[in-house]
């Protein structure tokens, strides 16, 4: 009994000592903590302040309306009222773009209003008809139940610690397919080496023309065409050359010898049914998983690493190239564009995460991949077809239907598709105004990871870029050959002697942008634009419109066209 009481006392003492304190605190080791986030500091009490009644600075402005153009109002310091006089000398339709250039909160629809005594506001806007349409191709990730987790340890003929020592056609490997967390048995169908860079193309056995079970199957012709497009002899004639010229090498030396595989590696492309969905026209087109760059012994997070520099593309979509398969059919072309997209992610990971220890917002990383697709589209196809332009503007999750989304956020699963669209659109504008390939290079070299990267690469504030892009988007069906609002004019950029052509963009060829009436005011998301039609074909005359904006995050752009 005595022992029991002693033990109980000891127990209580120990609990008292250890509850609520951690080891660092116990050891007095409260600095140089390199492995855990900074402990919370006590909240400083704040002194209540007397709220001040905001004044309402009023700006009286007159705009002469005679041509297709846009007018940006300077942001006020506080609550803002604008008395806008429109002096119309040539009949034009008038649009307002309300931009939330803040980063903290949504601006409520009740925070701003527009009125006029002599303008009849349009009530007949072309709200995006595409909202009810289905995308031309269903590039959404289907909401299928996730297959049971199947992680088989490798039982490969080839793999010991790395398959990369030498790979020959006919070698087999059981890949870990990270998107569906399953094992995919594949065979090497092509090995190409150009100037000491080697490309291995693997095809999942269930997607191969002999013995395959999927609804579309890969042939040697298709594999050869993919190799030809990605890496072939000669300079500046394939995806590898064009993309590395802008972004740099996909792999090389690094300072993580216990974590990451060695510096000299081939590139591996795995053609398989990404998502294991048997879809031939939709689903996930491809992916890059940085976990494959790790030794599987490094951490259980990467225990299924393939220990290769690799990415996957969808075999079924690639194989869906017509009765007599052609690499120039639309779906194979989309997969070629996907090669460039995933290759950018591969390079971005090495150049930014590994070499510079930088972690970018997802929207920047995805914007870079779509920008690369944009830059190489003309080189690959001799036209703009199959660039993201067509995929990203149309459909229920395309830019025209979702143009009110935030530029600087991201979401999970299908909900990410509008953000792809927004960032393609914004990136396509930036490419066309800030020297194309050099803009991407500027992002890479900026050392920044969010909107600061865009500001560094362009030398312009993000809010101005956001507003200029919005105006250019609305004006894209007009012929503006120069100036910050031009969008539908061909441009080119040159980097290291390689020229990249970008073709004009007209958002209105891919449906109708979502435009609201002033009788249907909307909340404005952070870093987002909302488009309103004010008046249809306003006749020659003088008009007054009163705008009140009770948010310092809100900014107005007037567009006439």
């Amino acid at each position: 009994m005595k022992n029991f009481i002693l033990r109980l006392l000891l127990f209580l003492v120990i609990v008292g000592i250890f509850s609520g304190c951690n080891l660092d605190e116990l050891l007095g080791n409260d600095d140089d903590n390199n492995s855990s986030p900074t402990p919370t500091t006590p909240t400083t009490p704040t002194t209540p302040t007397t709220p001040t009644t905001p004044t309402t600075p009023t700006t009286d402005t007159t705009i002469g309306i005679s041509e297709d153009n846009a007018y940006l109002f300077t942001k006020g310091s506080c609550y803002k009222k604008i008395n806008l006089t429109l002096n119309v000398t040539t009949p034009k339709s008038i649009y307002f773009i309300f931009s939330n250039t803040g980063s903290s909160s949504t601006v409520s629809s009740s925070s701003y209003s527009v009125s006029s005594s002599n303008v009849t506001f349009s009530s007949n806007v072309s709200s995006s008809i595409l909202r009810s349409q289905v995308s031309k191709y269903n590039f959404t990730e289907p909401n299928l139940p996730k297959p049971p987790k199947l992680i088989e340890r490798s039982n490969n003929n080839l793999l010991k610690s790395s398959v990369q020592a030498s790979v020959n056609i006919g070698d087999t490997y059981n890949f870990y397919e990270a998107a569906t967390e399953r094992t995919v048995a594949a065979t090497c169908r092509k090995v190409v080496t150009v100037d000491s860079k080697t490309l291995n193309i693997w095809v999942a056995n269930d997607c191969w023309t002999v013995g395959g079970t999927k609804s579309k199957l890969i042939t040697q012709t298709m594999v050869d065409a993919m190799a030809e497009g990605f890496l072939k002899s000669g300079s500046n004639n394939d995806i590898y050359d064009w993309v590395t010229n802008i972004c740099g090498a996909e792999w090389g030396s690094h300072n993580y010898s216990s974590a990451l595989i060695s510096s000299s590696q081939p590139i591996n492309i795995l053609l398989c049914d990404v998502g294991n969905d048997n879809y031939t026209t939709g689903g996930t087109l491809g992916y890059f998983w940085s976990g494959n760059n790790f030794f599987k012994t490094y951490s259980s997070s990467v225990q299924n690493s393939n220990q290769m520099i690799m990415f996957c593309v969808d075999a079924l979509i690639y194989a869906n190239g017509g009765t007599t398969w052609s690499s120039t059919a639309e779906l194979p072309k989309i997969i070629f564009s996907t090669l460039a997209h995933e290759f950018q992610h591969m390079i971005f990971y090495y150049q930014q995460n590994v070499l510079k220890n930088l972690s970018h917002d997802t929207w920047i990383n995805e914007m870079m991949s779509m920008s690369i697709e944009d830059l190489v589209a003309y080189k690959m196809f001799g036209s703009y077809l199959s660039s993201p332009y067509y995929e990203r503007f149309s459909g229920t999750t395309g830019l025209n239907a979702c143009n009110y989304y935030s530029l600087c956020k991201w979401a999970d699963g299908n909900a990410s598709l509008p953000y792809y669209a927004m960032n393609y659109g914004f990136g396509s504008y930036l490419l066309r105004h800030y020297d194309g390939a050099n803009f991407v290079k500027g992002i890479y070299s900026s050392g920044k990871t969010n909107i600061n990267a865009v500001e560094s690469a362009t030398g312009v504030s993000f809010s101005t870029l956001q507003r200029n892009w919005g105006a250019a988007y609305l004006l894209s069906n007009k012929s503006l050959s120069s100036g910050v609002f031009a969008y539908n004019a061909d441009v080119s950029s040159t980097l290291n002697g390689v020229t990249y052509n970008l073709v004009e963009i007209n958002a209105f060829t891919q449906g109708t942008p979502q435009i609201y009436t002033l009788g249907n005011m909307q909340n404005v998301n952070t870093k987002a634009n909302v488009y309103y039609k004010v008046a249809d074909n306003l006749a020659v005359g003088t008009y007054t419109i009163n705008i009140v904006m009770n948010s310092t995050d809100l900014e107005l752009t007037v567009v006439a066209k």
Binding site: L23, P39, A178, S359, D361, W410
Partner: protein
């Protein structure tokens, strides 16, 4: 001697428990990585990065925001150390 061993084991067990005590921190939350492998990263005020595992639904609305985090450490890493999120909320 037998009792001493028992007490030592008890003390050691509580020592281990104490090491896994939840911690709190303030800093910025970002969503990073490429699709479909995006992940949340937390920058503390010293600029250190931590990869977060936890309720994505709770973290998505907070991307880009300053947050207050309750977390527990793990032995996992993905270049950056991985911590498990117990609770997260905006730090207003």
């Amino acid at each position: 001697m037998k009792n001493f061993v028992k007490i030592f084991i008890l003390v050691f067990a509580f020592f281990l428990m104490a090491m896994s005590t939840n911690k709190t921190a303030k800093g910025k939350l970002i969503l990073t990585g490429n699709e479909p492998f995006t992940y949340f990263l937390f920058y503390n005020d010293d600029g250190q990065k931590f990869r977060l595992e936890g309720d994505r639904e709770a973290m998505l609305p907070l991307q880009g925001r300053r947050v207050e985090l309750v977390y527990s450490e793990t032995d996992e890493k993905f270049l950056d150390p991985i911590v498990k999120v117990i609770e997260i909320k905006e730090d207003k």
